[in-house]
Amino acid sequence: AQSVSQHNHHVILSEAASLELGCNYSYGGTVNLFWYVQYPGQHLQLLLKYFSGDPLVKGIKGFEAEFIKSKFSFNLRKPSVQWSDTAEYFCALRGNQGGKLIFGQGTELSVKP
């Protein structure tokens, strides 16, 4: 079965704290992985993506994610969060043939100033 699981429903951090959001997937084939972000009142935007090669990928706004094939994981990290990072974060996968994105349940991040 193809699925994405995000373990944290709601994360609350203070500014300057480090962030790690978990994402695990199940997929029988070559996988492409994504993190999307939805800021309050805005549409879903791509944060970063992994297709192949270096398993550590960097995205916008200082975010990065590491693909660990043996653990079927693609965790999102940021060394120091800001209040403006308050948003909902979605991990997603897509097969190599294209088609739909399969999303996780999402993690709501609240950053306290």
Partner: protein, 115 residues
């Protein structure tokens, strides 16, 4: 460049009524997707178009949902009759093509409340 446009942004209807949503993708994008996002869940694909042909509608409840993309540009999604469980945000997305590395761009969504 202009993003994906959707209307209306909000809609409240009673159960058993019908409703239609409209989507205008980014100019030149051949692939169009409709996703349903229920509160507390991630988006789930309802239907995917390549130009004006359907690529994937396996998760579309065809007894009540229908969608079309007649000229390969704009698309409409219809629900008739609506049920309480159809309350959700309906997201339209588009991409240049249907390749794994083609980014999907999302519209602002239509929030549907069925009472």
């Amino acid at each position: 460049e202009a993003g994906v446009a959707q209307s209306p942004r909000y809609k409240i209807i009673e159960k058993r009524q019908s409703v239609a949503f409209w989507c205008n993708p980014i100019s030149g994008h051949a692939t169009l997707y409709w996703y349903q996002q229920i509160l507390g869940q991630g988006p789930k694909l309802l239907i995917q178009f390549q130009n004006n042909g359907v690529v994937d509608d396996s998760q579309l409840p065809k007894d009540r949902f229908s969608a079309e993309r007649l000229k390969g540009v704009d698309s409409t999604l219809k629900i008739q009759p609506a049920k309480l469980e159809d309350s959700a945000v309906y997201l339209c997305a588009s991409s240049l093509a249907d390749r794994a590395r083609d980014e999907q761009y999302f519209g602002p969504g239509t929030r549907l409340t069925v009472t």
